[in-house]
């Protein structure tokens, strides 16, 4: 395949521009909301160290300087990861707190998508192939119900069910097991860490504990993606090349696999990428229900300690993640579609 990197290059430049815009917006949010920005940035400190903390924040943000210099300082600090220390996680640098929490949420969402995308593909495909049939008339309303189910409510019900049946799914991994095997997390992703440390027991334990929250998260993508696949397959079945290959006697299985499914994959990848970040937000809520470490618990502790720094950085971080995922998905889509000349 001939790849001129023009498209990829353009897409990345565009993404970078948006990322810069996101960081600027985060800073504007500090200025625009009521209250002294330095006090907010220091996290409404009280007690003896308060004046010093506010003074430090004032210097960090350069509040006496013109606005564009302030933005430049903030941006420099943001991209060098020099954002000071979080109040919510005492002593931990903000960036580290966010990254370790993010890894944990990310792995949970990823598991949810590993569950949901194949299911959605299968359900959507067969309800589209037999549109109007019994299977379809069950799947179609069911997918609407799934996509309308409040994830956090389902998570609560699941937790309730497991608590009643005395199966412990609370938390990221069993504290006793962690103590026994002297497991400590570096990246924040328990699965990754336990593999790296060769700790099978923690791996299995954390994987099992991940299933109920992952199920709760996967309900929305299953519903939404099933409906998407159904539409895409219905459109694909009307393509001339599907009709032509049917007339040439190509087997049904080949048509479904290599003609229909193959043609919907680029769109499916793109929409899955879009909804992944949406599910990341879902995962934050579900995590806080299941008492897991992650962005959700970070959010709650930032709320309880009025940690503005975490909040602002989190906005920029998730928004940038969204942009990166979308850019990657667009590039990937272009690569897997032979029609797009890169």
């Amino acid at each position: 395949m001939t790849i001129s990197l023009n498209y990829i290059f353009k897409r990345i430049i565009l993404a970078l521009c948006v990322i810069v815009g996101i960081v600027v917006f985060s800073y504007v949010l500090i200025l625009a909301t009521p209250g002294d920005p330095a006090v907010k940035w220091a996290g409404n400190p009280r007690g003896p160290g308060a004046t010093r903390a506010v003074q430090l924040a004032r210097e960090e943000l350069g509040l006496d300087k013109p606005i564009y210099v302030q933005v430049a300082i903030f941006m420099y600090n943001f991209f060098t990861g020099n954002l000071g220390f979080s109040i919510a996680y005492k002593g931990l640098p903000v960036v580290q707190a966010i990254i370790t929490s993010f890894m944990s949420t990310f792995e949970l969402t990823l598991i949810a998508y590993i569950i949901s995308v194949p299911i959605a593909l299968y359900l959507g495909l067969y309800s589209a192939l037999k549109r109007g049939g019994i299977f379809d008339s069950i799947i179609q309303p069911a997918s609407v119900v799934l996509a309308s189910t409040p994830t956090y409510w389902l998570a609560t019900l699941l937790l309730l069910a497991f608590t009643i049946s005395k199966i412990s799914v609370y938390g990221t991994a069993s504290p006793r097991l962690i103590a026994e095997t002297e497991f400590n997390t570096i990246t924040g992703s328990y699965l990754l860490d336990s593999i790296l440390q060769g700790n099978v027991r923690v791996f299995v334990d954390s994987l099992l504990r991940m299933i109920p929250p992952a199920l709760a998260i996967s309900v929305y993508p299953i519903g939404a993606l099933t409906r998407l696949v159904r539409v895409l397959v219905a459109e694909s079945l009307l393509e001339d090349y599907v009709k032509a290959s049917i007339a040439l006697g190509v087997e049904r299985g080949i048509i479904i696999r290599h003609f229909v499914v193959r043609s919907i994959i680029p769109s499916l990848v793109q929409i899955s990428g879009l909804s992944f970040t949406y599910s990341l937000i879902d995962a934050m809520v579900v995590e806080s229900i299941f008492g897991r470490r992650g962005l959700g618990s970070l959010l709650i502790s930032a709320l309880n300690t009025a940690d503005f720094k975490i909040a602002i950085t989190l906005i920029a971080f998730i928004a940038i993640f969204y942009i990166i995922v979308n850019t990657l998905v667009d590039i990937l889509q272009a690569i897997i579609d032979p029609r797009v000349r890169l």
């Binding site: 909301t33 049939g133 956090y152 219905a234 709320l303 998730i318």
Partner: protein, 298 residues
């Protein structure tokens, strides 16, 4: 256009799914309007704690308390029914403002072109990426509790989606011959926007808005569920769930009193479902390819 909308509506009405959606939505609107007059304890519904708290704490559903009571002895039925009002209010305000803002900015970006187009698209891109919940956290930290936090954080992210859709459709319309001609003939820009562009892009946008009603409801409840929006005690389903999960004593309480979780959640699910069913059927009617029966014929 009005006639076409009418046809779409009439065709949709043949479907049982659409009827269910309409019935649910009408019941929800009915409950929202009449809530204070039909619930047994409107005061408790608004969050006031009754005097005999100890005696009425966590009572299971009975004839007196249809949905049981919460950990502060309030009648859950009153709270949930009163919550319908908040739910619809949030959704209505968020969708209306985002819709109008998005429609206007999207149409302007497509019409004016040049720098305005680039800048508006750039802002749209940025705001589409914003995580609603974290925006809500920032607003909650600076503005305190309240329904305005929920609403404004939702608007901040949702308008961008409408602006994007409006822009994409408007771009197509702007390039139509008669719009170019109207421009060349010196028709006033506002008139062109009003007469030619908006009527042409409003239908898909309305369909999208109806489809989004459910999602906005869920997101609003999620913000309140995390304690980022309205204060505890407020008649809102998300916050009722929040109280029972985080506030009322954690896992022990809600294993003893599952009705605290079941009822607000069921209401949330039903109303979301009602909105989604309507949006789903409308979209299916607008896109006729999905209407036909199909079976494996090859």
């Amino acid at each position: 256009m009005i006639r076409r909308s009418f046809i779409i509506l009439r065709r949709s009405l043949r479907k049982i799914r659409f009827k269910i959606g309409i019935v649910i939505s009408l019941v929800a609107i009915f409950l929202a309007i009449l809530a204070p007059y039909i619930v047994p304890r409107p005061q408790e519904g608004l969050g006031y704690v009754p005097r005999d708290v100890e005696a009425r704490r966590l009572l299971p559903p009975s004839i007196e308390h249809i949905f049981g009571t919460d950990s502060l002895g309030r009648d859950l039925f009153s709270r949930v029914i009163m919550g319908t009002r908040t739910a619809l209010l949030q959704v209505f305000i968020v969708i209306t403002i985002s819709f109008l803002l998005g429609l206007l900015l999207g149409a302007i970006a497509a019409y004016l072109r040049g720098l305005v187009e680039v800048l508006l698209n750039y802002f749209t891109e940025i705001f589409m990426a914003m995580p609603t919940i974290v925006i809500a956290l920032v607003l909650r930290l600076t503005l305190g509790h309240g329904i305005h936090v929920t609403i404004s954080s939702l608007i901040m992210t949702w308008w961008a989606w409408y602006a994007r859709i409006a822009y994409v459709y408007a771009r197509g319309v702007v390039e139509l011959d008669y719009v170019i001609l109207a421009r060349l003939a010196g028709l006033h820009s506002l008139k062109i926007l009003h007469r030619h562009i908006v009527p042409n892009i409003i239908q898909p946008l309305i369909a999208q808005a109806i489809t989004d009603l459910g999602s906005v409801l869920l997101e609003a409840a999620a913000i309140n569920f995390l304690g980022l929006g309205v204060q505890p005690g407020y008649p809102e389903w998300g916050v009722i769930l929040y109280e029972s999960v985080f506030y009322g004593g954690g896992v022990e309480v809600f294993t003893q009193a599952p009705w605290l979780i079941v009822f607000p959640g069921v209401f949330l699910l039903l109303v979301t479902l009602g909105f989604s069913l309507i949006g789903d059927c409308l979209r299916e009617e607008i896109d006729p390819r999905l209407r036909r029966r199909w079976r494996l014929w090859f």
